[in-house]
Point group: C2
Chain length 577, copies 2
């Protein structure tokens, strides 16, 4: 197994054997480890000393369901802290077959030049890619698949990444070759753009297989793992049939659905854009439409979907809950076709739908367009952001800068990043996830929605979120999709058995929590060295003071809850950079 | 003596007796004290919980030269930390005669409404001021002087403050009624704008006199103080004849003059804009032109000037070194008329010439205009910033946001604020001033230029800057102009004798340093509570890595120098908020 170093300053690449101590570290854990070791915490996120890490995990390539996520990581230009964002798709399965655990992109190409990285069995090439300049992600994939064959995996940025926008994500192809899988958050697409790297092609000609210590135990563990996914209702029915859109109706009922720029927690037109509405639309139009769709080969959850247009052709795939909320209810848009089109456009330009929706909510509040005007919002994304006009570059820097430029100081951001579609006033566990996670306002750090707790009450939310955050960090670092957590989050033996079988370790189930804690502790160490402290581990005033209709709640966790979060009694000793 | 509280939320005003413990605290010291006591450090700088403090000092109104500076203070929207900026002019002399040490503006008026505060002997009025909306500062003063008489003092913001721009300062009238005196830095004009307060009129009908404990000792101390100012060459000749423009030639020679967006430390056309050139231009045109001009009555230094246009009419007054550098050499402009016109325009819109020049340097680097194109730069300031177009609002947020939006990450800012016209690579003491001051990149926190040290060498610069910063903080908090420091900075007995005579104290000269330290310690306490830490006490990478021609220097102070700065051995114990 190797690390591939790609130096954009001198255009050299080098394969290094994966250090023994990185063996069990993948994805988010590997990002944290490499950033702490190799990137000066105070450095300019868009400068030559930052590094972009694209990593898979230790269980990828072994036919385990949902275990081949692609992580992108680096110092974030949006938050100024550590950032990891992950996506499904086929890239990591191909990388793993080439024996590559992670790609570390270093240095910075000459201004104005862009390159393509081509990974294949017989070597690595770094090629000038002027012909891809300014292309949308869909066209990049189309062009590269025409050139290198349909079986390649593609990782790319859109024009937004080239323009160094904080909205920019890194997009990867799914089984159909569509750039629909996004390492969306934190502006990592701008980090890739700042390096001068436009895209990565990963051929499917590798034949490396991760050595398995005990094949029999492994097959048994894999079978059990797949079985538990297929027998847990959340992972075998709800996600499979309704995808993440299934969350919209219950969150709307809880009053935690961002609506009209976080002014309401319920949307009066929620029924037009919820899981049932999406299901019915796919059912009615049929054609290319699909309720269940696997973003990577072998996934049994298949939470993804394909949304067809009126003629039955693919409009976008997938359409997820966070997008329905941030580009839908948060902008007052109650039209699935309109939201799907906005989503497709964002994917093509290469931007995060969450940060984009939050920034547009603020721009609407500043008078830029009326709520619900999907056509004007489409135009703003396409012609302003996509073309990089001054207004587009303002929005392109995200919610915080949009607010500062337009004179709005009521901003739903933590550590510079917009929170996602679980309003922490109505789903109070998210107060802690958003406030404390080293990732900034990021729901994927720990969704508390499915816990059996009264989400409107502050009691117990700190402990709940903290536990989930650790569980998520562990799964994130092993390359798992977070959607396995409803099935195995409370039963670590399933995952630990897989690790033991493959790597010959003898871990007890408790190992997994310690492993997750170590990752978060490293992330925090990086952030502290980058200038964060407890003051940044808080929600903005709007969530503490502004009552959220219809339940008229504020986020009222006690200062004590925040303070206790980083107790060494829970975490053990913290490392220091 | 009173504090005047002005609550913009309920439009009530109240005079409170000055608390005994504030007796010796003025200006910057009073800002620090009130902010630490009354403003939650994490609050939104443009929200209702921030406070704008406009303060004079304990020695104002007593006929002491240079002792009636006006300080504006609050939590800065530019830096996110504490901010105090001060100016000359006549406001504080009038405030003091009305018995008012400071005005504390609290709360926030209804959106869209703006008010005028009118202070006079028989009371305080808060009046709707819709007719002043959008007016430039010169017109505000003109209008108010026409209405209330030529003898009033005016404090106002321009349209930039109303638009909540980080560039916005607070402008005060001089003896001629021109709004030429600027509490320029840190976006305090936006804080005033966020309150809904457009202007303050201070009538000249007060008859309060600060009680003097020992008149005879006071008269003697005042005489001695004035004498030392009048016999020190810097304060009696250089400042008087050449103003601050006298610094341009030596700084150019040292290689510390910001030129072409901080790419050079010397300007090949420096001779066209230096102190001699300005002197000659005033001499030649005569008319309203003046070499020596006092911004407040009774100042014997008279560092200010009046720059006449070709017809001999006032073009701008004063034209200062920092403006010559930031709007001149830094933008490649070598034309005194052009710089004076830009200066006038900035005063009128109500923006800081330093932050504006630094932001424009970055915009030029991003391709917005060619260096040296004074006409286009004038247009950008007038039509974009002044009119609040999207581009104008971007520039209006200052250098950091301009850079982020335009994709430039080489930014000359510390704690979010642009440094001024002493490049810390060639004047190495300024490394410490810019990096460590709680004020962010602000030269007025401690200019090391006149110290007998090799400015190109790192040795001794930390101690030098630290001492000067403490001395400056002390003088800033007593209401003195920092230009008295060349005369009395090393002889604290002059100032301490004045304090003892007026207030009946019995301080030794050493008291002054302890007094200054206390102010900085409070400021730091506020900043720490607001989220700053040692990571923010550093220069950006460009000054550490990019060699500055012609001497090809970088700022190379040791990490140890930075670390030792906050030694408790020097400072004593730090308070904690």
């Amino acid at each position: 197994m190797y690390l591939l170093r790609v130096n954009m300053s001198n255009l050299r690449t080098a394969l290094e054997p994966l250090p023994e101590e990185y063996k069990l570290l993948g994805n988010r854990g590997l990002v944290a480890e490499i950033l702490c070791r190799e990137v000066p915490a105070r450095t300019n996120p868009l400068g030559a000393k930052n590094k972009l890490i694209l990593a898979g995990g230790p269980l990828a390539g072994l036919g385990i369901s949902s275990a081949a996520r692609l992580s992108a990581g680096g110092k974030s230009p949006l938050t100024g802290g550590i950032k990891e964002a992950n996506a499904g798709g086929i890239a990591v399965q191909r990388m793993t077959r080439l024996g590559i655990r992670a790609i570390i992109v270093e240095g910075q190409a000459e201004t104005g030049k862009i390159y393509l990285l081509y990974l294949k069995k017989d070597g690595v090439e770094l090629l000038p890619a002027g012909e891809l300049k300014g292309l949308g992600t869909y066209d990049v994939a189309k062009k590269l698949r025409a050139r290198y064959g349909k079986d390649i995996g593609v990782i790319t940025i859109g024009p937004a990444g080239e323009m160094l926008m904080n909205l920019a994500g890194i997009f990867a192809t799914d089984s159909e070759g569509q750039t629909s899988r996004a390492c969306a958050r934190g502006g990592l697409g701008a980090v890739m753009g700042s390096k001068g790297l436009k895209a990565i092609v990963i051929a499917n000609d590798g034949d490396y297989r991760v050595p398995v210590h005990d094949e029999e135990a492994f097959k048994k563990a894999r079978k059990e793992f797949i079985k538990v996914l297929m027998t847990t209702p959340q992972t075998s029915e709800i996600y499979t049939n309704y995808g993440t859109a299934s969350a919209l109706a219950p969150i709307n009922k809880l009053g935690g659905l961002p609506t009209y720029n976080f002014r309401q927690g319920s949307f009066e037109k929620a029924e037009a854009i919820d899981g049932d509405a999406l299901y019915d639309l796919i059912e009615k139009r049929n054609g290319a439409g699909k309720h269940s769709h696997a973003c990577m080969n072998g996934c049994v959850i298949r939470c993804s979907n394909v949304v067809p247009d009126e003629e039955g052709n693919t409009l976008v795939s997938p359409l997820e809950y966070e997008t329905l909320a941030l580009l839908g209810s948060n902008l007052g848009i109650a039209d699935l076709d309109a939201i799907a089109s906005l989503n497709k456009l964002c994917n093509d330009i290469g931007i995060d739908t969450i940060e984009t929706g939050a920034a547009l909510g603020v721009a609407i509040e500043a008078g830029m367009a009326p709520f619900g005007d999907a056509q004007e919002i489409y135009r703003i994304i396409e012609e302003e952001i996509g073309q990089g006009t001054i207004l587009g570059r303002v929005l392109g820097q995200g919610t915080l800068i949009t607010g500062r430029v337009l004179g709005i100081s009521r901003l739903p951001v933590v550590k510079g990043q917009a929170i996602a579609a679980h309003d922490p006033r109505a789903i109070k566990g998210m107060t802690i996830t958003y406030a404390m996670s080293p990732m900034g306002g990021d729901h994927t750090a720990g969704v508390t929605l499915r816990a059996p707790i009264d989400h409107h009450k502050p009691e117990g939310q700190m402990e709940l979120s903290r536990n989930i955050q650790v569980i998520v960090a562990a799964h994130d670092s092993l390359g798992f999709c977070m959607f396995v957590i409803p099935a195995v989050g409370g039963k670590p033996e399933y995952v630990v058995n897989l690790i033991n079988a493959v790597y010959g370790t003898n871990f007890q189930p408790e190992w997994l929590m310690e492993y997750g804690k170590d990752v978060i502790k490293k992330e925090r160490a990086f952030n502290l060295a980058a200038g964060f402290n407890e003051v940044h581990d808080r929600l903005p005033e709007m969530f503490l003071e502004e009552e959220l209709p219809p339940h008229n709640l504020v986020s009222d966790l006690s200062e004590e809850d925040y303070r206790r979060y980083w107790d060494t009694e829970f975490w053990g000793e913290f490392p220091k950079l």
